[in-house]
């Protein structure tokens, strides 16, 4: 599956403290026509990169050292309200679900397949899914 010809790809910053997850998402999102403009391993790097690169969206892991995903989401919503956000987490207990609901950020569970994440990115950026998706 690729982006339609003529479509501008969704530009995203991907944030996860695990390099192997970053590698996977870079490859998977590229195959789905999503442009990963930068990756970050904690929230403070993510915030800096978003100020520099103004991506359409951020894929944000939540449980990280340093500035975690909860804090980074709050900062980005305050400072860069035009940047769409998708939370991407291995597990989602009560606290994670309620925090993301309160922040109005869609939550996607980590998966070996990128479909749910790509759909969420299309939704938060207002990009229509290619026909047949």
């Amino acid at each position: 599956m690729t982006a339609h010809a003529g479509d501008d790809p969704i530009r995203v910053v991907v944030v996860d403290d695990e390099p192997d997850v970053l590698l996977l998402l870079k490859l998977q999102l590229r195959n789905e026509g999503v442009e990963v403009v930068a990756v970050a391993q904690d929230g403070s790097d993510a915030i800096r990169l978003c100020h520099e690169l103004h991506p359409d969206a951020v894929v944000m892991d939540l449980l990280m050292g340093g500035v975690n995903g909860f804090e980074a989401i709050a900062t980005l919503q305050r400072d860069l309200p035009g940047t769409a956000l998708v939370a991407y987490s291995a597990v989602a207990g009560e606290r994670v679900r309620s925090e993301m609901e309160r922040a109005n950020v869609p939550l996607v569970l980590k998966s070996g397949r990128p479909t749910a994440l790509v759909n969420a990115l299309r939704e938060v950026t207002g990009r229509a899914a290619p026909s047949g998706d």
Binding site: D20, L24, A90
Partner: protein, 222 residues
């Protein structure tokens, strides 16, 4: 154990297993599928080492789980005999693979009377915690007294809650800071305490007023 306690333990184990294993397993699956579809050899060269790393991590987590399921399987055998504390610290540190050298002070020639081979295993989880959650360099002090040797591992760092200190030796418990920063199942400290107590000693944790933590191990000595 009462049924309610068993239920709490079951939920705690499943939450920890879910959290710690889900990321490497889902990432492995995704990489395997991407590898299958990858035409470019340089992508394959990136994916294959990542898959090996993730598989090793799953293997290590499963080993921890097996240990926690039956702690008696890790108990050493053999009559207690003198073992150099400083040497054990350096062996444990080297096995952990952390950078640098630990700062060991005090009675560095002291020996503890413990079952053979058990001292590095007792100290390893305490050193690992100091390295992961504290600020380097942390300090290790050895003190000898008649019939006893005391090892203190003191690390600076963020404040540690009294709940984390109280529950640190409970199997599968992971402190708030651990859950948000490092992989692990929460079985290192319980294994450490089992080994120390088998040798006739004790191990305690105390939070420092200025942040960070002090782990104190007391063992039979000469």
């Amino acid at each position: 154990m009462q049924p309610e306690q068993l239920d709490v333990l079951r939920k705690r184990v499943m939450a920890v297993v879910g959290h710690e294993l889900r990321t490497p397993v889902t990432t492995l699956r995704g990489l395997a599928e991407t590898l299958h579809a990858a035409g470019e050899s340089e992508i394959r060269d990136e994916i294959a080492p990542a898959m090996a790393r993730l598989a090793a991590r799953v293997e290590s987590l499963l080993d921890d789980l097996l240990v926690a399921a039956d702690l008696s399987t890790v108990l050493p055998v053999g009559r207690p005999r003198p073992a150099s504390v400083e040497h054990a610290i350096r062996v444990a540190w080297s096995d952990l693979g952390h950078d640098g050298e630990p700062d060991v002070r005090g009675d560095v020639d002291a020996t503890a009377i413990v079952p053979p081979g058990s001292l590095p295993r007792m100290l390893s989880p305490l050193l690992d915690n100091a390295a992961k959650y504290g600020k380097a360099p942390f300090e290790i002090r050895i003190r000898r007294a008649p019939g006893e040797v005391t090892i203190e591992i003191e690390s600076e760092g963020p404040p540690v809650s009294s709940i984390d200190v109280a529950l640190a030796f409970e199997p599968f418990y992971r402190g708030e800071q651990a859950v948000t920063t490092c992989a692990g199942l929460g079985v290192g400290l319980p294994v450490s305490r089992t080994l120390v107590e088998q040798a006739g000693g004790s191990v305690t944790l105390e939070s420092r007023d200025a942040g960070g933590i002090v782990a104190t191990v007391r063992l039979p000595g000469q």
